[in-house]
């Protein structure tokens, strides 16, 4: 099975193709060289016989027989043929039986068969031959066998074969090696992926050497796996949280109904029980509604409802809505607006986000405390800050508050669904703004927004420019470029990688978990 896979593998097939091409090329080259050589040798030989026959033609007739005998005698390699025939075709001298048929006696060189004298059974070789009719009517025929070209060709062919065979084998070997190597890596990846599929979410693909495409692919996949692991873990948590948060009010409703059914004796008692049950069901419904809404915003890539939104106006309206609540609680709600500023966004969603923050702040500020709603802006950015004199969000909790349903143990008894900050985070993310959670004591949450023109520019597609993957810390709003392990730089500050999972942020003088860096495209 393994062997078939290896032979079938693409790499190997490519190697085979390359080797075959090489072999074809070499054979072609050989044929070419052979042909050229052959042509050259024949031409040379033809010139030689022509010279010889001219020489013999010029001899006096009585010396010709002798010259032919000398000519043949000197030929140790037996490549020369010569014959002198009388006008009626009788052989006078030489080693040719008769004047070959098909030979023009005008001095042009041709390939004809020359039979040796007397031997009718043995056919002679085909030889480059020239014939001339002499002045006295005799016929002189001279030939030269050029079979040395065959020998030379053989030598050249052997040399090429000796070269091509190892090259072919080398190609096959290289192909086989590459193929086996790729197979091995694929097999390793496959094993790891199988482990991931089986539920081992922490498994990653091997990332060995620096810049080979396979390793780069592995890095890309690993990045994706990081994201997915975070998401899956979050989802798993959410599932448990939903179950818990839905069960609690439903259990209450069920208990109330059950008790009402057995114990209620009057209509009033029954109504009271039913009211309780309805309240429980309503709370479950509120949770589902909030969750659906959160999902809707998180998944909504469309920005159909976007327009220029006056942040100062929204701040004033939020303040207007929450002032009586704050007053009832004895909390002073102040709004400080530097100057009006417009951002690019969805008015309802931004109102909801800021209202949620103020709602929280009022909820957690102690009686007699203070909640401030501030708006600072310059040409490019607008900063909405909601601060309160409550306990704030401790360092340990900073990550957790953005999780769905997270409610600090200290505030378990405060009413609420626990989706508020997740919703704010989702809205902020949809707008491409940043959510910054300040350090305790005192609650401080900021939304860093881009002003209208700036925001639109930032949302423009940048695919032509080559968009750069950036990462943003959803808590601090700081972005960092991935420059490699150990260093990372942000637009605001520089990070130092302390451990594989924590980075130091000098401006905030604290450590941030790396996992909180969500992918961000800018």
């Amino acid at each position: 099975m393994r062997k078939i896979q290896f032979i079938r593998s693409n790499t190997f097939l490519w190697a085979l193709a390359v080797a075959a091409t090489l072999a074809l090329f070499v054979v072609g080259l050989f044929a070419f060289v052979y042909r050229q050589l052959d042509d050259y040798l024949i031409a040379r030989s033809d010139r030689m016989v022509t010279t010889q026959i001219n020489f013999m033609v010029d001899l006096p007739p009585d010396r010709r027989v002798r010259a032919i005998a000398d000519h043949l005698q000197q030929d140790s390699r037996r490549v020369h043929y010569a014959g002198l025939f009388s006008a009626d075709g009788a052989r006078l001298a030489g080693n040719i039986d008769r004047v070959p048929a098909g030979l023009d006696l005008d001095g042009t060189v041709r390939s004809v068969r020359l039979d040796p004298p007397g031997a009718t059974a043995v056919r002679g070789p085909i030889v480059r031959t020239v014939g001339r009719r002499l002045d006295d009517g005799d016929v002189l025929v001279l030939g030269r066998n050029v079979d040395e070209t065959r020998e030379i060709s053989n030598v050249v062919g052997q040399a090429l074969a000796l070269g091509v065979l190892p090259a072919f084998c080398l190609c096959l070997l290289a192909g086989a090696w590459l193929s086996v190597r790729a197979q091995k890596r694929v097999e390793e990846v496959n094993q790891r992926v199988q482990r991931i599929v089986a539920g081992e979410l922490r498994e990653r693909l091997p990332e060995d050497n620096a810049d080979d495409p396979f390793a780069r692919l592995a890095r890309i996949v690993n990045g994706m796996l990081d994201e997915m692991e975070t998401m899956i873990n979050a989802l798993a948590g959410v599932g448990n949280d939903i179950a818990h948060d839905l069960r609690t009010p439903l259990t209450r409703a069920r208990l109330a109904l059950e008790r009402g059914r057995t114990h209620a004796t009057t209509l009033e008692q029954l109504q009271e029980v039913v009211d309780k049950a309805i309240a429980g069901i309503d709370q479950s419904l509120a949770i589902i509604t909030a969750l659906l809404r959160l999902t809707e915003i998180e998944n909504n890539r469309r920005t159909a409802g976007f327009g220029n939104v006056a942040l100062d106006e929204i701040l004033r309206e939020v303040c207007d809505v929450y002032e009586p609540i704050a007053e009832d609680k004895g909390v002073a709600l102040g709004v400080l607006i530097g100057r009006g500023v417009q951002v690019w966004g969805d008015r309802d969603l931004l109102f909801e986000a800021i209202a949620n923050l103020v709602d929280n702040a009022v909820k957690f500020a102690p009686s007699g405390g203070q909640v401030n709603l501030e708006l600072e802006s310059d040409d490019r950015t607008a900063l909405v800050r909601v601060s309160d004199s409550g306990p704030g969000i401790s360092e340990q909790e900073r990550e957790a508050v953005l999780r769905r349903f997270y409610r600090s143990d200290k505030i378990r008894n405060t009413p609420g669904v626990g989706l508020g900050l997740s919703l704010v985070a989702a809205i902020v993310k949809l707008h491409g703004f940043r959510l910054i959670i300040g350090s305790a004591p005192g609650g401080r949450i900021e939304i860093l927004a881009w002003t209208a023109g700036e925001g639109r520019a930032r949302r423009m597609p940048v695919s032509n420019v080559g968009s750069r993957k950036r990462e943003v810390d959803v808590m601090t709003g700081l972005t960092r470029d991935r420059l490699g392990a150990g260093t990372c730089r942000t637009s605001e500050t520089e990070f130092r990688l302390v451990t594989p999972s924590l980075v130091a942020c000098p401006s905030a003088s604290r450590l941030i978990p790396v996992s909180r860096f969500g992918m961000w495209e800018q």
């Binding site: 509120a286 409802g305 009586p324 909801e352 209202a355 709602d359």
Partner: protein, 226 residues
């Protein structure tokens, strides 16, 4: 008698709505699907319609759109199990007059139907009257009989809305949507109650007949007739 056409495919929901509305002396016709509903709407000219968004055969919004194309302007309340904001916007754009997400409290449905039936005509009046209350929309002043009521702008807006719809049940969701013009679910559930408490404190002085009534579990009513 006010006639209402209900187009809803779920029998149990439909029966509950029909019973509840009949109890409040509405005459309710029920059509279980879009085609039949559209037919009834064209022939029987109801005063208001309740249309479910998801119907077998013909989508609820298609029914509304077809009616509007026929120049039938009957007020329509769209019901939907889809709560998405975009969906709501679409429902209203295609001719629905109000939109209610399932599951809903039956009082919310009734309140919204009543609001649709008694939609205030855009009057040119600059002074609103309701019982002893008088609201001057130009001078931005309010009085109860001889007594001047000093109102904050938001309280003025709230009172104006309530006076335009006096003797109607106004639910919290309706107030939030209409008075503040924002579609959101406040984390603080008694947000509207606090505002209403303020207003009531100013409108109903000690010793006076109470005008703003809290209907338990449902919403508020401004009663102009005692």
């Amino acid at each position: 008698m006010t006639r209402i056409l209900l187009i809803e495919d779920d029998t149990e929901t439909a029966e509950a709505i029909v019973a509840e509305l009949a109890e409040r002396s509405f005459e309710v016709q029920w059509a279980p699907n879009g085609v039949e509903g559209l037919d009834r709407a064209r022939t029987s000219h109801p005063d208001a319609m309740i249309v479910d968004r998801m119907l077998p055969g013909m989508d609820g919004l298609t029914v509304v759109e077809a009616l509007r194309n026929d120049q039938i302007r009957t007020p329509v309340l769209v019901l939907s199990a889809l709560g998405a904001v975009d969906d709501r916007v679409r429902g209203l754009r295609m001719g629905g007059d109000d939109y209610l997400t399932k599951p809903f409290a039956i009082v919310e449905l009734v309140a919204r139907i009543e609001a649709l039936l008694r939609r205030p005509t855009e009057s040119r009046e600059t002074i609103l009257l309701a019982g002893p209350l008088e609201l001057d929309l130009i001078e931005r002043t309010a009085r109860r009989g001889e007594r001047e009521i000093d109102l904050l702008p938001r309280e003025f807006r709230l009172l104006e809305y309530m006076m335009r719809r006096s003797d109607q049940l106004l639910t919290r969701a309706m107030l939030l949507e209409e008075v503040w013009n924002y579609k959101f679910v406040p984390a603080t559930t008694n947000l509207i109650d606090v505002h209403m408490g303020r207003l009531r404190h100013k409108v109903d002085a000690p010793g006076e007949v109470q005008l703003i009534h809290n209907v338990r579990g449902s919403g508020f009513i401004l009663r102009s007739h005692q």
